[in-house]
């Protein structure tokens, strides 16, 4: 514990301190430490001189390079806009012209993929194939119309979204709200099934179908139409095409008639620019559901 004691292993002098058996060597700080301290300090000093660095009351040292991150952001945004010169044409041209231009449609597919993935895929799926409760966009079975203008409008205002011009639709809960008794619900379910499956009409369900048609005409035809072809004016689905949002098996159709349905699609008017919505319209049509 005395100053001047040497460590037998390294030959280094001890500091003479000892704490519960722990001693310390008096090894000088290696030159490399001073070197790297100087190098990093020099780097920091040069960086301070060149870049915005130290506060001075209400302002700060601006740096010799005059670099400002806000300026850089403005420039990058402008540069990106220049790269998107094709976007101007998408904004101006009508749908048919754009759809006929292979180069522009290539841009729609490129940019639309990320837009769709970030905004639409969470419900409609990355491929736009939908899922239980969410329509398949590639099927051509459009609730509110499949023209570019109709799709663009649906994206803009949404469905049951609360948007003042929004599209509103509701399938009533015929069973739960006691508009139809259980037998009537079961019959109309069978009838609805028969609309997309004509083989049922010649089977043992014949009578149920006849009874179901009466229920249908009295309760369902006002929205879904006398032939069950639906109506894009009120967003009533076509019941004959074999595409189902909530499932086409007997139990799912029963649940729909019994408990009703009311889907939601957000209004994108305030979240996406008009250009982005136009790209998405074209992208969705391009997925295969165009009609």
């Amino acid at each position: 514990m005395s100053v001047g004691e040497h460590d037998p292993y390294t030959g280094q002098r001890m500091t003479g301190h000892e704490w519960n058996g722990i001693k310390e060597l008096n090894t000088p700080v290696p030159k490399a430490v001073w070197f790297f301290l100087s190098v990093t300090a020099l780097f920091a000093f040069v960086y301070w001189v060149l870049m915005p660095a130290w506060p001075l009351g209400v302002t700060y040292t601006k740096g010799l390079l005059g670099i400002d991150q806000r300026e850089i952001v403005r420039e990058s945004v402008a540069e990106a806009a220049r790269q998107r010169s094709w976007a101007q044409r998408i904004a101006q041209d009508d749908y048919a012209t754009i759809q006929a231009d292979a180069g522009l449609m290539q841009k729609v597919r490129e940019s639309g993929r990320a837009l769709f993935g970030d905004n639409c895929a969470v419900c409609h799926g990355t491929a736009g194939k939908g899922g239980p409760g969410y329509p398949n966009l590639t099927a051509g079975a459009w609730l509110w119309g499949g023209t570019p203008e109709a799709i663009a409008e649906t994206i803009r205002v949404g469905i049951n979204s609360g948007h003042p011009e929004g599209r509103i639709a509701q399938m009533l809960a015929f069973g739960r709200d006691q508009m139809l008794d259980r037998a009537a619900v079961l019959n109309v379910v069978t009838y609805v099934q028969s609309l997309s499956d004509p083989t049922l009409a010649s089977g043992p369900e014949k009578e149920a179908i006849v009874a179901g048609k009466e229920v249908y005409d009295a309760n369902c035809a006002s929205c879904h139409g006398p032939e069950g072809k639906g109506s894009t004016d009120v967003g009533a689905p076509d019941l004959t095409d074999g595409f189902w949002i909530y499932g086409g098996d007997r139990q799912s159709i029963f649940n729909t008639v019994y408990g009703g349905r009311q889907g939601h699609m957000p209004a994108w008017e305030t979240r996406l620019s008009e250009l982005d919505r136009k790209i998405l319209t074209l992208y969705v049509l391009d997925l295969g559901g165009g009609k």
């Binding site: 292993y9 301190h17 519960n20 001693k23 310390e24 991150q69 841009k107 993935g117 970030d118």
Partner: protein
Amino acid sequence: MISELTRGERRLALAVLTAVATFGLALAIAGRGDILAVHGGLIMASAVILMFFVIAGFYAPEPGEERLAQYYDTPTKAGVVLAMIWGVIGMGVGDWVAWLLVYPDMTFDAAWASFGRLRPVHTSGVIFGFGGNALIATSFHVLQRTSRARLPDQFSPWFVLVGYNLFCLIAASGYLLGITQSKEYAEPEWYADLWLVVVWVVYFSIYLRTLMRRQEPHIYVANWYYMAFILVVAILHIVNNLAVPISFGSAKSYSAFSGVQDAMTQWWYGHNAVAFFLTAGFLGMMYYYLPKRAGRPVFSYRMSILGFWGITFMYMWAGSHHLHYTALPQWVQTLGMTFSIMLIVPSWMAAANALLTLNGAWHKVRDDATLRFMMLAAVFYGLSTFEGSFMSIRAVNSLSHYTDWTVGHVHAGALGWVALITFGSIYAVVPWVWKRPAMYSNKLVEVHFWLSLAGTLVYVFAMWNSGIIQGLMWRTYNEGGTLAYSFIDSLVAMRPYYIARAIGGLLFVIGAVVGLYNVWMTIREASAERADAPDAPVVPALARSLQAGE
């Protein structure tokens, strides 16, 4: 435990517990109809249960004066066990949320099982539950030995340990209930924050009161680090948690800061929590247990000093590197980045000082898994501080920020450095304080070492890959100037790495369970056999006299 307190301390304990129970009752009454009532009840119940313990032992014989000739290690023992239990819980929940990222449906439709509530249980569980208890336990152990003075009394260390764990319990249960002020690593609400301030002040006073009575002329470097940890964490905690509760009957509060000032305060806190909780405190641990276990003198006293002041001075500036390319003025980002770069030198000085201390003891590193834990911890400390300085560079940060690279970096430090130095220190201190020749099973220490190393490597490599792919996908543009990938594309690309990460984490958790078992079995055997104490004797306070040269 109660039999170790003097009669006066038992009375003090009852008075304090009565006060705490009353505080809990007041919270419960004021917060009736609010979720605060649950925590008021929890605080009151904890205090009442402890009162029963104190009352049951109240008339036990008092400890004699001979206790003053011994170090007071019971709080250290309790802290070590608590640290291991919190470690298993915190790491277990961590692996749970890792799997949750692979299987997002695994929430049982229950709010408490959502990612947002479980993740802070993991972070607080490991940082405060595991890390904090380990720091408190080892700091009491190191403080006494390097001062050759017993803790100033028997009550205050228990107050700190029990009070601190009550804070951890309020924090973790609050997250599951949905109580949070949504500041990272500072989620607990105002009443928990106030309670921690009380506990922390007592903790610091124990340090000062013991150091004042020290029988060594100098204060050992480990104690500088422990003191920096306690003092700076108090400052950080108080400033970042300045808030106004919406009423004394509500768990909810609003921060005193808003906007970019709030973000800057939060990351000044957040980064210095890494610096002074997860670095300074554990460097204190390393500076005692590593040379002690290796039986070698510390490589360089001068590097200890330079490293300490470099770390404490430069870390304070570095927090703004968490806010590159944000609304934070660029000059603040510049300062954060440049100080982070300079910080690499003192950080590596500490790591090098530890590794060079092992010169002359490398054969022990080969044979002794406990020492190997500490050696590897120093290596990971060096690696992750280098990575941290690198990631603070703005250009690098533009790629790494918000990605899994950050998660990987944090875990290189948290698993590789913090957890490994803690396990190494615990394997060293357990046989010493329970007076055993060695751990119950050295083979299990060895198993734990390799599980930890494998788990850490799998985790960190998975997150490096994942983070860099993520960062690149987010910044890739088409020729037409639009983003090439949607966010969900990057999630699909992450999935294999999330699986790998969860497996790496699982290995680490299994290691912790093995460690807890090994510690438990060592304790069970401890009463049977007694080994010689390895410590220089305490200088009893009664026989205190000034030493020559003091």
